[in-house]
């Protein structure tokens, strides 16, 4: 008589993240675990071999041999790609979120593949005589209400195999993301609407990462439905669009401390129209803005560079 399979129940030891430890130490009830999620950060699904000559049992041989790293205790470094639950098993396409960097939308600053945020008036004046007219990819972080440049990301099925003439909501509304987390280093900047309304983050963690939550149903105008005919970086059916501006923080506006501490001297000249800020005259800090779909879980990191004229 054989033994019964006892492998159905797995016990795992968890470690507190730095944020978990911080909240536990606060003792004010904010350390409360109410939900869980699964992730597959280490998995490269490119190793899934659907054409393996030995059959389906061998499709995931390489994936199952993937070594798994120990836990990171930084809350921002773990659980970056979460597993998803959909009510349907027959989905073939999943939505993604892409920065809309098309030339007719919000392209990166030409040569750097990043957005530049000018943090103070001196830096803005070095690149324009008119605050409203910075070239594409450069944001006026000092006075975000001036200028039209902003961050725009579109969500949908990025495939040419499906027509973009149909709305993703019409195809399957469970694939449409209606709520987003946006995270930014709170020491460096904060988020504004396109009309420059200032938002308050829903939380700021121990590493000064501020999390904002925007939904299509709120009145911020940050999240909207992506029209089928609109210009988009999404090739197929579009779901939603998120767009916002970035304002420099008070620290970066008024002090060079962070630029001295974690910044780098300029490496190439920045040009906007006829004006140029030479590499020797500024310092910059590279960071990212992270956009995550609350329900679809997809995460997009958009590079941003905070620039401050120093001489």
């Amino acid at each position: 008589m054989g033994f019964l399979d006892n492998s159905g129940d797995i016990i795992l030891d968890a470690v507190l993240t730095d944020l978990g430890r911080k909240r536990l130490s606060e003792g004010n009830g904010r350390f409360r675990i109410t939900k869980f999620a699964l992730s597959d950060d280490e998995i490269d699904y490119g190793l899934y071999d659907k054409n393996h000559p030995s059959g389906s049992a061998y499709y995931d041989l390489n994936i199952l041999q993937t070594p798994v790293l120990e836990s990171f205790t930084n809350n921002m470094s773990s659980m970056k790609s979460r597993l998803l639950s959909y009510s349907r098993d027959d989905l073939l396409y999943l939505p993604v979120i892409l920065a809309n960097t098309n030339s007719d939308a919000q392209p990166f600053y030409s040569s750097l593949n990043t957005y530049l945020v000018l943090v103070d008036q001196t830096t803005v004046d070095a690149l324009t005589t008119d605050n409203n007219s910075l070239v594409a990819g450069i944001f006026n972080g000092f006075e975000p209400q001036k200028g039209l440049n902003h961050i725009q990301a579109d969500q949908g099925l990025d495939t040419t195999e499906l027509s973009n003439e149909i709305s993703l909501a019409d195809e399957d509304d469970t694939l449409v993301e209606t709520q987003y987390f946006v995270q930014i280093d709170n020491r460096l900047g904060n988020l504004r609407s396109l009309t420059s309304t200032q938002f308050s983050p829903s939380s700021i963690d121990d590493d000064n990462i501020a999390t904002y939550i925007f939904a299509e149903a709120d009145d911020t105008g940050v999240v909207s439905s992506a029209a089928t005919g609109a210009s988009s970086i999404i090739s197929g059916p579009r779901g939603s669009r998120i767009q916002f501006k970035i304002a420099a923080s008070l620290d970066t506006k008024t002090s060079t401390f962070l630029f001295d501490q974690i910044g780098t001297p300029g490496t190439s000249a920045i040009t906007s129209g006829t004006k140029t800020l030479n590499a020797a005259n500024y310092r910059f800090i590279d960071s990212t803005v992270r956009i995550s779909g609350v329900s679809t879980g997809y995460t997009l990191d958009i590079p941003i560079r905070f620039v401050k004229k120093t001489s």
Binding site: I10, A37, I43, K50, I63, L84, L91, E161
Partner: protein, 357 residues
């Protein structure tokens, strides 16, 4: 609606457990006296106690393992006029009172009780002169495991060759015979056994044991009566190279010299410590319809799932971590699997995630 979180139902999906973790702590006598030529022994200008390290204490690798000190009660004969050459008498009385105050407490009149050899505070023989072994929290953790303590002492009467006759001091009855009338937690009676006890003042019981002190489990303190070295032995032990007995050294020598004399006779110390682990186990129930897709960027190529050829294929994903989240979606704890775990609509499982405090 797609979702990447699953709620844990209060009361159904978590349980609080308590586990006791034990470690064996062996302290060999050569560390206490010999191996490091006393470079691992730290003395202080106040002279109230001596600290023992497991390595020369000037090294950053050294760990403080226990302290040694001694004292006697103000009503002990050792504090009387019969011992005019008393050294550090006030400090020894202070040490005794401090230890007694913390470990035995106060009587109904507010006076400090004295240590009692059988734990019956209302009556019986008191331990008025004692050596104290204070084990550090590093070793004793939450408490010394009852019934695991052994102090092996060299009790040959000659100072130069102490280990030719050994006496073992244990709390052998501690696992079921401990006392609870101390303000510092539970304690057990220490018993000495060994051939050197034959002919002493107290006749060993049927098991060859003689009461020799008290062991405070949670406090991590052993109180050894000085009579173990003089009185309980068939022949009193010489406590220093001058051949003085325990009473003479206790009264005439400093606390540091008393500690030296005790270390000279320590053969081995061993016990098991106890760490109390409080854990919450979260039952992360993954049903067949849950978590079959992934938001991993490699999961799709041009939005098309790489694990499917057509829509009829079952989706599949691989779990490598479980995250525990707060209501505001902040990651509070994370657990990793040892290897990727396949998940598709034909499987379901419960991942039990334990968080220790």
């Amino acid at each position: 609606m797609a979702t990447s979180f699953k709620s844990l139902e209060s009361g159904r999906d978590s349980v609080v457990t308590r586990n006791l973790l034990h470690e064996a702590i062996p302290i060999t006598g050569t560390i206490v006296s010999g191996t490091y030529a006393d470079e691992n022994i730290k003395e202080f200008s106040h002279g109230m106690f001596q600290s023992v390290y497991d390595y020369p204490y000037l090294s950053s690798s050294a760990n403080h393992i226990f302290d040694l000190t001694c004292g006697y009660s103000a009503d002990s004969v050792l504090s009387g006029t019969g011992y005019p050459a008393a050294a550090q008498q006030d400090k020894k009385i202070n040490i005794y009172n401090q230890m007694a105050q913390v470990l035995v407490g106060f009587d109904e009149n507010g006076a400090v009780r004295r240590f009692d050899e059988d734990g019956d505070l209302t009556d019986g023989t008191k331990i008025k002169d004692a050596y104290f072994f204070n084990f550090t929290r590093l070793l004793s953790k939450d408490e010394i495991k009852k019934g695991s303590f052994t102090l092996s002492l060299g009790m040959n009467n000659t100072y130069a060759t102490p280990f030719s006759s050994l006496v073992s001091v244990t709390d052998y009855s501690g696992s079921n015979g401990y006392k609870v009338n101390s303000p510092a937690g539970e304690y057990g009676i220490l018993y000495a056994t060994g051939s050197a006890l034959v002919g002493g003042d107290v006749t060993p019981d049927g098991n060859g044991n003689v009461k020799a002190g008290l062991l405070y489990y949670q406090a991590g303190i052993a109180v050894i009566t000085s009579s173990l070295f003089q009185g309980l032995l068939g022949t009193d032990a010489q406590m220093n190279s001058a051949g003085e007995d325990s009473e003479a050294v206790l009264t005439g020598s400093s606390i540091n010299l008393n500690a030296d004399s005790i270390r000279h006779r320590i053969n081995n110390i061993s016990f098991n410590n106890t760490t109390e682990l409080n854990s919450t186990v979260y039952f992360c129930r993954v049903n067949n319809t849950d978590f079959n897709y992934s938001a991993n960027p490699t999961y799709v190529s041009s939005s098309k799932m790489v694990v499917k050829t057509n829509s009829q294929d079952l989706p599949v994903s691989y779990v490598t971590a479980v995250g525990l989240y707060s209501p505001d979606n902040e990651l509070l704890a994370v657990a990793k699997l040892s290897e990727p775990l396949k998940k598709d609509p034909s499987t379901e499982f419960t991942l039990r995630v334990r968080l220790d405090y």
